[in-house]
């Protein structure tokens, strides 16, 4: 009986031949949802392409905080740097007018105030104080407006930089219009 089993096994062993090693079978491309190895290769290529785009974007995009600091130093500089020249000019113009007007009124006020401090006649004291206080109040109003615009200017430089960065990304993406393969199917990028 033992001999019979040994003979049968020997016959079957002779008929079994070793298959050629195939990497495609071995790697199982369908493991993560990829139907074929080629499709997976394409997706990897597409990912690599996206990484290159991202690198280009990182090189060209602008730093938001850097632009905010620029706008704080010189109003409108952040917008100007983000290529929004008209906004930058408007902010610079408005802030210059506000600051110069405030300074002019402050100087006028201080001239009267110095005279007020020297005055000895009650009518003159009252008159000079009123004449000094009025431009001082206007100077403060213009200074307040300057500060309010400066704050808005910083806020706007964030928005402008975001817009600029979005445009940069769109431009880089548009340069490489292509159909890509993803695990869920085909994607057409514009």
């Amino acid at each position: 009986m033992k001999n019979l089993i040994l003979i049968i096994l020997t016959v079957f062993a002779i008929n079994i031949s070793a298959k050629d090693f195939n990497i495609m079978d071995f790697s199982r491309p369908d493991k993560y949802g990829w139907e074929t190895f080629e499709k997976r290769e394409k997706a990897v290529e597409d990912l690599s392409e996206r990484q290159k785009l991202l690198q280009l974007y990182e090189m060209e995009k602008q730093d938001i905080y850097g632009n905010v600091i620029k706008s704080l130093v010189i109003p409108g500089w952040g917008q100007y740097h983000a290529k929004n020249y008209s906004k930058g000019q408007i902010f610079l113009g408005m802030e210059t007018v506000m600051l110069l007007t405030s300074y002019y009124l402050y100087q006028q006020s201080m001239n009267k105030y110095d005279r007020y401090k020297q005055a000895t006649q009650i009518d003159e004291i009252n008159k000079l104080y009123d004449e000094a206080a009025r431009p001082y109040r206007f100077a403060q109003t213009f200074l307040g407006a300057y500060l309010a615009i400066l704050i808005y200017n910083c806020y706007d430089s964030v928005e402008t930089t975001n817009d600029y960065n979005a445009k940069v990304w769109n431009r880089i993406e548009n340069k490489s219009l292509k159909i890509s393969v993803t695990p869920t199917g085909l994607t057409l990028r514009f």
Binding site: T120, I122, Y129, A132, G144, L147
Partner: protein, 130 residues
């Protein structure tokens, strides 16, 4: 919304700051001298070779002295022509000899106290020197 509140608060705090009353005479502790009352003007007679204007007024208490101002037109620049101490007796008189005939002269007066604060100016008085 928070930004708007912050900006508004900042502007309002800026507007809230006003000039301080730094003049030592501009204080509630300093008593303002009374206005000069009873001012009368007299001019020299037309025949008199010496031309003058004489000013009479009532003596005030708690004042250190009086200032006399003069101008050639009523709303012109009034120039201080004399400082009269209050200690010269009960008859308050000042004679302005620096006048010429055929001219109108306008006078104003005020009193000042020991702290140097000058009170309200009187209304102007006009006189013609013949």
């Amino acid at each position: 919304m928070k930004k708007i509140i912050f900006i508004t608060a900042m502007i309002l705090s800026l507007l809230g700051c006003s000039l301080s009353h730094k003049n030592p005479l501009d204080s509630s502790n300093v008593e303002i001298p009374k206005s000069v009352i009873g001012i009368e003007l007299f001019s020299s007679s037309p025949q008199s070779p010496e031309k003058y204007v004489e000013i009479h007024w009532e003596k005030l208490t708690n004042v250190e002295g009086y200032y006399i101002y003069r101008a050639m037109i009523f709303d012109g620049q009034y120039e201080k022509i004399a400082t009269i101490p209050n200690s010269q007796g009960n008859n308050m008189i000042f004679r302005d000899n620096n006048v010429f005939s055929n001219n109108f002269y306008y006078y104003k007066m005020s009193a000042y106290n020991s702290q140097g604060l000058e009170g309200h100016l009187s209304g102007f008085l006009r006189i013609f020197v013949e």
